[in-house]
Amino acid sequence: MNERTMTEEQHFEQMIEEESICINDNIVYDKPETLTDTPMHYCPGCGHGVAHRLLAEVIDELDIQDKTIGVAPVGCSVLAYNYLNIDMQEAAHGRASAVATGIKRVLPDKFVFSYQGDGDLAAIGTGETIHTCNRGENILIVFINNGIYGMTGGQMAPTTLPGMKSTTSPNGRDIITMGNPLKITELIAQLPGTYYVTRCAVNTPVNVRKAKMALKKSFEYQKENKGLCFVEIVTNCPSNWKMSPLESNKWLEENMLPFYPLGDIKKPTN
């Protein structure tokens, strides 16, 4: 191409190429090796994608891809194994922590985590959750709480807020007839088997960073055989909350976070 006939834009492109600024030192955003190229099925604005990425980043940074086994639940993240480039097992509904227990007991030197939604972990799987935590299994449980059953289309979850609408609480959750939201994270924090219990969110850049730190610390504690680490991530469900992603994040801040306050619920003691 003749330089005189170049547009300004073309010239700029050529300059970029020539000056080779596309070098590793200049990369500000990259796909973690532990994340696959498979397009995620999650709805626009959903927090699952961010949570997956954080796990992948942490696994990369700790260089434990070859030593990590994940357990996917039944729910929106049932296909998590398609997105994370690690060995994984897909558990029956609610049983992910029992499956993770089985893996960890026979492979005590490996890193094991379960990734579960609120229906999976705090309704059908409550028994497994409590007993896995109480035994102090040396694993990480990642608990995604969006206050609703996403995969089945927006039914009331154990964590649905009082007055919150769902397809099975169309007039809002009535705590007299439908019971109260279950703060299972506070509950399991009481158990001697849990070592580190924290509640995070992925709605703002600051919260995303904090969530990543929590996940990273959990894997480090697991390496030191400290006991069970439990990271709740309060997140949104734009599709079933019937809001735009932006509206859902605002609603999360105004409604979910006051009920499920962020921060460490049980800090490591030794």
């Binding site: 996917a72 049983r95 499956v99 007993h131």
Partner: protein, 357 residues
């Protein structure tokens, strides 16, 4: 440990056999009449071989712990009795679809419901015809002696790994509780080899391994089903096991499995003392069922008596074997009642009274 003869209770002998077979992990929950398995393994299995023994909070948890450990490529066992086995059915369906080798043991008691703690055989349908949801098959071995309870442990692990399929040892409370002389096998080393499909951490040189029973694409899910079915056809070809006692010249044959087959052998002996030529056909593998052998036998006998500790479950497979060639009568006891040899002989005489005169 060397081979040795000991006098041992069925449940404990089975547990000892699991340790000696190099079992890597056992997950269980107490339920009568099989709690001795968990108790025996809790005593010193871990010290002896490093085997993991964990009491779970429920049978649902123990079968899913088994799923996880089996998915890691280990030799895994769980056990229960009828009501607990019902709770495990969902997990068994997942294990079958995810093609995980593992050993399940059901020391049956009489049902339905909470039923009784006395022995029964009413879980035949549950074990052999499905139990959980979907089209899957459990390879099922039915021991009739404490020796077989022991011998089938190692055999089951071998078959389970050969086909990547769960194997069930289906016994009953009496066999689990009774003491017999038994020859224990030598201690085997626990296997260190990691199967290529196991989830043990993805090394750089291979693709990730995923243990799952899910496919949202119907054509792919059908393909998975077809592959399972093809495997089941192989199992049906290779793994049929049965025993025939005094069937060569028999006019009548009692068909029974497990402990009832032994009682029936005594009944057949009593019949021969009275001049009635009776043999016993004992299916050892309940799935795959020995259809062909029983069908062939039907050519040479006058009739069959099917005896079970239930209301008549295996008799459906006996009918599918005999295909109307000869009459089939049934005698069953329920609720934990064990039939006596005299009672079985009496029923045989009653049912075939016209012919016997």
């Amino acid at each position: 440990m060397k081979k040795e003869y000991v006098l041992m209770k069925g449940n404990e002998a089975l547990a000892e056999a699991a340790i000696r077979a190099g079992c890597d992990a056992y997950f269980g929950y107490p339920i009568t009449p099989q709690s001795e398995i968990l108790e025996y393994l809790s005593l010193n299995a871990n010290e002896r071989t490093g085997m993991v023994v964990l009491q779970a909070e429920s049978e649902i948890a123990s079968i899913n712990m088994g799923y996880g450990a089996a998915g890691a490529g280990k030799r895994v066992m769980t056990s229960s009795s009828s009501p607990g086995m019902s709770l495990m059915q969902e997990g068994i369906s997942y294990i079958a679809c995810a093609e995980l080798p593992c050993l399940l043991v059901n020391i049956q008691r009489g049902g339905p419901g909470l039923g009784t703690i006395q022995p029964g055989q009413a879980d035949y349908f549950q074990t052999v015809k499905g139990g959980g949801h979907g089209d899957y098959k459990l390879i099922t071995l039915a021991p009739s002696t404490v020796q077989e309870l022991v011998d089938f442990v190692d055999l089951s692990f071998d078959i389970a790994f050969k086909y990547r399929n769960p194997v069930m040892i289906l016994a009953d409370g009496a066999l689990g509780q009774m003491m017999e002389k038994v020859l224990l096998p030598e201690q085997k080393e626990r296997i260190k080899e990691v199967p290529s499909w196991a989830t043990v951490g993805k090394s750089k040189d291979r693709e990730k391994n995923v243990i799952t029973s899910l496919s949202l694409d119907p054509h792919h899910m059908e393909e998975i089903n077809l592959q399972l079915q093809a495997k089941y056809r192989q199992i049906e070809k290779n793994e049929v096991r049965y025993e025939m006692t005094d069937c060569d010249d028999a006019d009548y044959v009692i068909v029974a499995y497990g402990l009832v087959a032994r009682i029936s052998q005594k009944a057949a002996h009593l019949a021969r003392e009275k001049g009635i030529k009776v043999g016993v056909f004992r299916p050892i593998s309940l799935y795959p069922f020995p259809y062909e052998a029983l069908n062939k036998l039907a050519d040479n006998v006058k009739g069959f008596l099917d005896v079970e500790m239930n209301a008549g479950q295996m008799i459906e497979d006996v009918k599918l074997s005999v295909l109307g060639k000869k009459p089939i009568e049934f005698h069953g006891r329920m609720g934990g009642v064990i039939p006596s040899p005299e009672e079985i002989l009496q029923k045989l005489e009653e049912k075939f009274a016209g012919e016997l005169v």
